[in-house]
Amino acid sequence: MGRLARIPGVAFLLVVLGILFGIFAGGFASLPNLLNIGIQSSTLLLLALPMTFIIMTEGLDLSMGAVLGLTGVVLASALVAGNTLIVAFAAALGVGLAFGIANGLLVVKLGLPPFVATLGTLGIAQGIALVMTGGESVAGIGPALPKLYATKWVGIPFSILVAALMYAAFHFLLYHTRFGNYVFAIGGNREALVLAGVPAGFFHVLVYALAGLMTGFAALLLTGRMNSGHPIAAMGMEFDAIAAVIVGGTERQRGNGWLPGTVLGVLAVGVLRNGLNVMAIQSSLQVASIGLLLIVALLIDSIRKRQL
């Protein structure tokens, strides 16, 4: 029963929703639509993966949406200025990484509460993006990124490939490397790490740096999708990422994390939103359903826990 117990309630909901939409929502179960769900969820997954690590260390990163806006703008601006995609991408990664490291230092070295620290960097990132662009979107990014974004490999679109690859990378990191062990420990039993002589602080900062780095990757997807850089397009995405992580089974206390659950959380919301749109459900009902999904998912877990 151990393995089965690990699977969060949201998995069950995902299956139920998939079946119900498949039956009642015309066109839902078609391959193009399923691929759409993947594409629509990929940017969020790139944010939710490092967010899982952060939440396991009992932290939060509220700045991800704003930093994604900034890295998107950096990517787009670099392309408009004539740089190659590689160079522009490197610039975006660099900016994202810088913010990630800044967050990490604020939380770990200066001891600021993660909520406040990342709320501060949120404003700074948003401000820089607005100043850089004068509050306008950055268009005219040339053909290189759209071409990359449109590529498919055995029919699988680029963004899904990136998301899948990133998941594999994070899965490997968390479950098969020493770093992954440290991530568990920082949240669950930090003293043990320190006693063992491991520089816990360094790895703790690394967890936040990783989040910043991932916004650079996410910028590739978001800018590709909009064919432009937009300073505030991603605001608020971090809340959806946090919700997906928690619904997927990662708990804020005790350093308990389950990465596959994060994917399930992201997909469940993606499936719900897509299905509701395909069924043309009234917008206010859509809004309420999203809240209901989150609550029911964890309600199922609550009920199960009382049983076991």
């Binding site: 069950f12 909901l13 139920v16 119900l20 009642f24 015309g26 066109g27 839902f28 078609s30 193009p32 639509n33 759409n36 594409i39 629509q40 940017t43 993006a129 607005l130 662009t133 509050g135 306008e136 979107s137 268009a139 759209p146 978001l222 999708r225 909009m226 064919n227 432009s228 937009h230 300073p231 505030i232 397009a233 991603a234 608020g236 995405m237 939103r273 897509n274 749109n277 395909v278 069924m279 043309a280 459900i281 009234q282 917008s283 206010s284 009902l285 859509q286 809004v287 999203i290 209901l292 029911v296 309600l299 199922i300 009920i303 199960r304 049983q307 076991l308």
Partner: protein, 327 residues
């Protein structure tokens, strides 16, 4: 109870909920033409007017409207997702208000690639193929309304500007319109230009602050009606007077004009645009001629001419196409 039995309750509830939702949704008939209408958010009364108008036009033409509204106001990623989801349903036509004039271009191109005709409504998208552009020009509306204010100020005095959300393409255009109007009135001085993020409460707070800093303010330009209404609240509370203009022509703003609180609000008539946009889409489906552009005249609603606009929109009817579009 066993685990399985316990689990039945949320499961049952979910099935019942979904069944109920499906039954409600199944009210949509299958064989009529459907028009997908994309509006920006659920909270601005302006877009509700557009939706009601579209519904009225659709009823007359025997087509169905399916509304697509982002669950987070003005969200670019969400509107992009909804475009893809709408294509899955293959509407007969689309009436589209882009959340952003540039970022949504790839979305429009998706419609184009799927062979679904699109009418661009109200806010012009900077790319993509459209059957027609039906709407207005934010830049011109802002410029005309600002001009009106400056003329009422006799061409001189102090003004402050309450800006919209940084990053919004509407805001860019409106600010540009304000600036252009300012060029023609060199004796009008801008004391301050600060953002209210298109929100009433923030505009109120910012105006309160600016009233502290500047003792003589003759005019206030707000980039939308919600903010303009916040501005007049601040003026009221501080017992200060200034001529205030807003943009959008919402009912609440028109009422404020009636009451003498708001000098004017500029608009191209959201109801009319909603009607005409839908009718343009329907005409295209019926192979009737549709001009590439239907640009509406701008009305600056002030105390003299608000009478047409203050009728509750539920009672308004769409005009005949021919009365607006003269060949």
């Amino acid at each position: 109870m066993t685990f399985g039995e316990r689990l039945k309750f949320p499961f049952k509830g979910l099935v019942l909920l979904t069944a109920g939702v499906v039954l409600a949704a199944c009210g949509e008939t299958k064989n009529r033409e459907t028009i997908a209408l994309f509006t920006k958010n659920q909270t601005n009364p302006y877009f509700q007017t557009v939706r009601v108008a579209a519904q009225a036009a659709a009823k007359e033409s025997n087509v169905d409207i399916i509304n697509y509204i982002p669950t987070s106001n003005d969200s670019i990623p969400e509107q992009m997702n909804q475009i893809e989801d709408a294509i899955t349903k293959r509407p007969s036509a689309v009436v589209f208000i882009p959340v952003d004039s540039k970022a949504m271009i790839p979305g429009v191109e998706k419609f184009n690639a799927a062979g679904i005709p699109v009418v661009n409504l109200i806010d012009r998208a900077d790319g993509g193929q459209f059957v027609s552009f039906v709407g207005c020009d934010d830049y011109a509306v802002a410029m005309n309304t600002a001009r009106y204010l400056f003329e009422k100020m006799n061409g001189k005095g102090n003004v402050i500007i309450i800006e919209g959300q940084g990053g919004s393409s509407n805001n860019q255009k409106r600010m540009a319109g304000f600036r252009k109007a300012l060029e023609d009135f060199p004796n009008v001085k801008v004391l301050a230009s600060q953002t209210g993020n298109f929100q009433r409460a923030m505009a109120l707070q910012v105006t309160e602050n600016l009233l502290q800093a500047h003792s003589q303010i003759d005019g206030i330009l707000a980039a939308n009606d919600a903010m303009a209404l916040g501005v007049i609240q601040a003026l009221d509370a501080a017992n200060r007077k200034a001529l205030v203009i807003g943009l959008n022509g919402t009912k609440e703003a028109i009422d404020a004009v009636k009451a003498g609180k708001l000098l004017a609000t500029g608009d191209c008539d959201g109801f009319l645009q909603g009607c005409m946009g839908t009718m343009a889409a329907v005409r295209h489906l019926r192979n009737l001629p549709v001009p590439p552009e239907v640009v509406f005249p701008i009305t600056v609603f002030d105390s003299t001419n608000y009478q047409g606009a203050d009728a509750p929109y539920e009672q308004r009817m769409c005009p005949k196409w021919e009365s607006i579009v003269k060949d």
